[in-house]
Symmetry: C2
Subunit: 264 residues, 2 copies
């Protein structure tokens, strides 16, 4: 497989940097080809602004969605964004690696999403009508590819457990896994989360490295999260609500959008 | 009251810009004092990196938490960050205004949080031991102040309803409301969300403006979301899990951390 790893940590000599090396070494040992987008090293620009759309008429009100659509269609996005889109189209699998800061991705990585996930590429794809709400959530430009998160967290695993004060980790990561990765078509693998990284010792590192290696060895075979596809009957369109007869039982909130009932 | 509005939209002539004017005019009509942090206009730096900690030893590995702690203690954070901290300490109420991009805040606003919410200021406050896990979630530097989100969304309200495909809006905003605002002590008001903003017409705007005015008129009196306080018996410490006898009934996930049972 071809694998793109997007790395969002400011320090190469960090635990994140070390785990990145472990991941890449294992992927290459498995015969995969790897490219890295090291956002800090590349000085990635985070904020979407007028400079992202050089052909948007000077003086005109900037409408981000419209400008993104026009720029993608006319191939006038900036070079840094175009390069990332090429890498995404090259890769069979995408890994986003980052430390969880304030329960979300670091700004620089959010800026990679905000800028690279252009209208016509990652959203605004396919027919939009009262009968069909675009190719997304199970379809889209990136369908057939795999994605996973590799996340480090300062707190304890228990603090992110089903009754932990921070909220369950799967719910905290849902806006990324479902809203950013599943949206344009990726099959999303369960995230790999490393906890208590502020107090890592040497023995912890060896264990953590082996866990990362195992995830890299199984990148091609791990079963994805079974998010429900938008356009195959589970949702009412255009309300985009889950059909009343589905998701019964204990599921609430985000968990409704994972199909735990249908046989594989 | 003194109110700080943090504005994160790249276009001043947008709906967000117009609603910002409406909000400020109404706050001032009510006798409140308003300051604005216009992140795009100020060219806010989004990414946390070595330049944020000018006194961190050159050549040494950058440990973000430790560098933030040291810089806050020694008053050597950068001028832009110190100015924002001063504004937060000045304000009785904080409003974060932004468009929802990819189910989260724009990168520039995440970068404001990542950089301004320093160790010793917004986290790492109070005793950290096996008996007490810091002053947070109900206590902290910003306790006694109010905060609310003012958010614009392209999709329909139904798409963000309890069974909507995007997930419930309250869950999508939980990592911000609970994880970013409640964490350092704010009383968090219910968010004000404006939907379907991509198809706004003049009549929509008048209604939207009036709704924003109403929220500004009641900024001082609206009841906050009843998140559970960390250090007052609801959680087991240090596991930080909700006590088994609490949160029974239908609550799952994030909803467990809202107290719907205790009498006011």
């Amino acid at each position: 497989m071809k694998v793109l790893l997007v790395f969002a940590h400011p320090e190469r000599r960090s635990l994140n940097g070390a785990l990145r090396d472990v991941a890449i070494a294992e992927l290459e040992a498995q015969g995969h080809e790897v490219q890295v987008s090291d956002l800090y090293a590349e000085g990635w620009k985070s904020a979407v602004d007028r400079a992202d759309f050089p052909h948007w008429p000077e003086g005109a009100e900037l409408r981000v969605g419209a400008a993104s659509k026009k720029s993608f269609e006319t191939d006038t996005l900036t070079g840094d964004v175009k390069a990332e889109i090429e890498k995404l189209l090259w890769a069979d699998a995408l890994i986003l690696q980052f430390p969880l800061w304030w329960y979300a991705m670091p700004a620089i990585l959010k800026g990679w999403v905000d800028r690279v996930f252009a209208y016509g590429f990652a959203y605004g794809v396919g027919e939009h009508s009262d009968k069909r709400w675009g190719d997304r959530f199970g379809e889209g430009t990136l369908a057939g590819r795999r994605a996973m998160l590799l996340v480090t967290v300062g707190g304890w695993e228990e603090h992110y457990s089903p009754r932990g004060i921070n909220g369950p980790i799967d719910d905290l990561l849902f806006p990324i896994n479902h809203g950013i990765l599943y949206y344009p078509g990726y099959e999303v693998l369960p995230p790999h989360v490393v906890y208590q990284v502020d107090r890592f010792k040497e023995a912890d590192f060896e264990r953590a490295a082996e866990n990362v290696r195992e995830r890299m060895r199984t990148l091609e075979t791990t079963a994805p999260i079974r998010y429900r596809r938008q356009n195959f009957g589970d949702y009412l369109i255009p309300a985009m609500t889950l059909r009343p007869e589905l998701g019964e039982g204990e599921a609430r909130g985000f968990a409704l959008h994972v199909d735990t009932a249908t046989a594989l």
